[in-house]
Amino acid sequence: MSFNNLDQLYRQVIMDHYKNPRNKGSLAGEHVTVDMNNPTCGDRIQLQLEVEDGKVVDAKFDGEGCSISMSSASMMTQAIKGKSVEEAVKISGIFSDMMQGKEPEIDIDDLGDIQALQGVAKFPARIKCATLPWKAMEQGVAEKQ
């Protein structure tokens, strides 16, 4: 492995989300809160979702962790905001496939920023960092239903 591979892991857009996280903070209105952590490494996330009529109206997160987990959280909130719960869960499934190195069913460019995380699949020890916020989201929408 070389710095070339590292460049694929630490893409510019990932670092941008890490340094300038989108949707960071907490929600004021009625919402569901999910706390999740990765007990083996200490990464933790608090995700708040406002779900109305089967739609994710708003999403915010807070937490502590590495560049991969925090950028993934930022991208995830960006990706699911305004989507139906069904769509959000579907994107999560596509993301999970991507982490396992499978080719996504849809055109990768449609995934937006998320596709930058594709390089994580080559770093097995870091996959759980990237999937943590998505697991939190799936739990959150499941609680709401």
Binding site: S2, F3, L6, K19, C41, D43, I68
Partner: protein, 406 residues
């Protein structure tokens, strides 16, 4: 001490990882195994695999001799009075849990105190939390100084006549702090308390003399000292172990079994229910021989030199925070400004350098340090100055890499 010769005994070290020669700096998590240990385990399985303490046949006798011979090696290694005081367990965690469950639950009641420190590994915190909850005892902490050490004044102020158990790590797996066990044990004894020592991070690296330390219980793991995983030791003073009930019941540990009642074997076997960890114990015995041949004093001096050298090199690097006291065992825990330790470890791994990143099973200590995680480089007998140089160069690259991507 000829490190290059020692390195020849560790086959795993001679490989490339991600296109670079492996620099293994994670021995505090688990050490690598010398060929003699691998051979001893293999030889047992190939030539005399049998159950112990029951076979009349020749292989059974050989296996029993191997297993009990390893116990005597451990006895000499830690200077216990008798092999009756040496119990084989699955590791440090099991050893501590045995004392917490058996001695703790039998001897603690409401109002009693268990005293530990905030620097403990989870395995020396949670068993005491559970025992405290089960008995109504109170869990108390000796405060830490700013550099991650404890003072005897604080020890004296925390331990009272209500204290029944003091449990403390000998060497911190995060800070490298070497705790004054002998002195703390003396204070504990003045108050009628027993002293348990978590020796997971000291036994592989320095001469242990349980009689000199005068601790009542001493726990350690084989896999951090060149031995196999799944084998560890609980040392306990004979009169305490004799009064304790076993925590696991079944084969191997019994004297007579009746329909409604049973009696136990004598020490140490009453604590070794089920077929024991025969290959593991034999492997641990081989690891002890290996370490003894080099000499624990030489190993300790070598590692401290490496730690001091690493401290010196890191000290001159900008943006590096090192945790723990100046005087320390062979490890360095650190953080790089603005780079999460996982990211540090990933970039170092790309250079073939293995370090640990995370909370090191010490979440209360991470809270005390006010960090969510740290990275750690830990040294053993096979590490060299060149390893430290490679590590520092890797860190420099890490810094450069992240200043470029930001």
């Amino acid at each position: 001490m000829d490190v290059n010769k020692i390195r020849q005994s560790f086959p795993i070290l001679h490989q490339e990882v991600n296109g670079h020669p492996l620099v293994y700096l994670d021995s505090a998590a688990t050490s690598q195994k010398p060929q003699v240990v691998i051979d001893a385990v293999e030889q047992y399985y190939r030539e005399y695999n049998s159950n112990v303490h029951r076979g009349v046949h020749t292989l059974g006798t050989k296996a029993t001799d191997g297993y009990e011979g390893a116990r005597d090696k451990v006895r000499r290694f830690i200077n216990a009075k008798s092999t009756q005081e040496v119990i084989f367990t699955r590791g440090t965690t099991t050893s501590i849990n045995t004392v917490a469950s058996s001695y703790g639950k039998a001897n603690l009641q409401e109002g009693d105190e268990i005293v530990i420190t905030p620097m403990e590994h989870h395995s020396n915190i949670i068993p005491w939390q559970q025992t405290a909850k089960a008995t109504g005892a109170t869990l108390k902490y000796i405060p830490l100084q700013a550099d991650g050490t404890i003072t005897l004044d604080d020890v004296k102020a925390t331990i009272t006549n209500k204290t029944k158990i003091v449990a403390m790590m000998h060497v911190s797996n995060v800070l490298g702090t070497i705790n004054p066990i002998k002195e703390v044990a003396e204070i504990a004894h003045e108050h009628g308390a027993v002293m348990l020592v978590d020796g997971a991070q000291s036994t592989p690296h320095m001469r242990i003399d349980v009689q000199y330390l005068d601790c009542d219980f001493f726990a350690f793991s084989g896999h951090k000292m060149g031995g196999p995983t799944g084998i560890g030791v609980l040392y306990g003073k004979k009169h305490l172990l004799e009064a304790m009930e076993p925590v696991e019941f079944g084969g191997e540990m019994i004297d007579f079994v009746n329909l409604y009642d049973s009696t136990w074997k004598e020490l140490p076997w009453k604590f070794e229910g089920g077929t024991p960890i025969i290959a593991g114990a034999i492997g641990l015995g081989a690891a002890i021989d290996f370490l003894e041949e080099i000499g624990l004093e030489a190993i300790e001096a070598h590692e401290q030199q490496l730690a001091q050298y690493a401290l010196e090199r890191l000290g001159s690097m900008e943006g590096v925070t090192v945790y723990g006291p100046e005087e320390r065992a062979g490890l360095v825990t650190f953080n790089l400004d603005d780079v999460h330790p996982h990211d540090v470890a990933t970039v170092l791994d790309a250079e073939g350098i293995a370090v640990r990143a995370g909370h090191h099973c010490a979440q209360p200590l991470m809270k005390w340090l006010d960090v969510s995680a740290t990275a750690r480089a830990s040294f053993y007998v096979y590490n060299t100055k060149e390893d430290v140089d490679a590590f520092v160069a890797g860190l420099q690259k890490t810094k450069e890499f992240f200043s470029n991507v930001f």
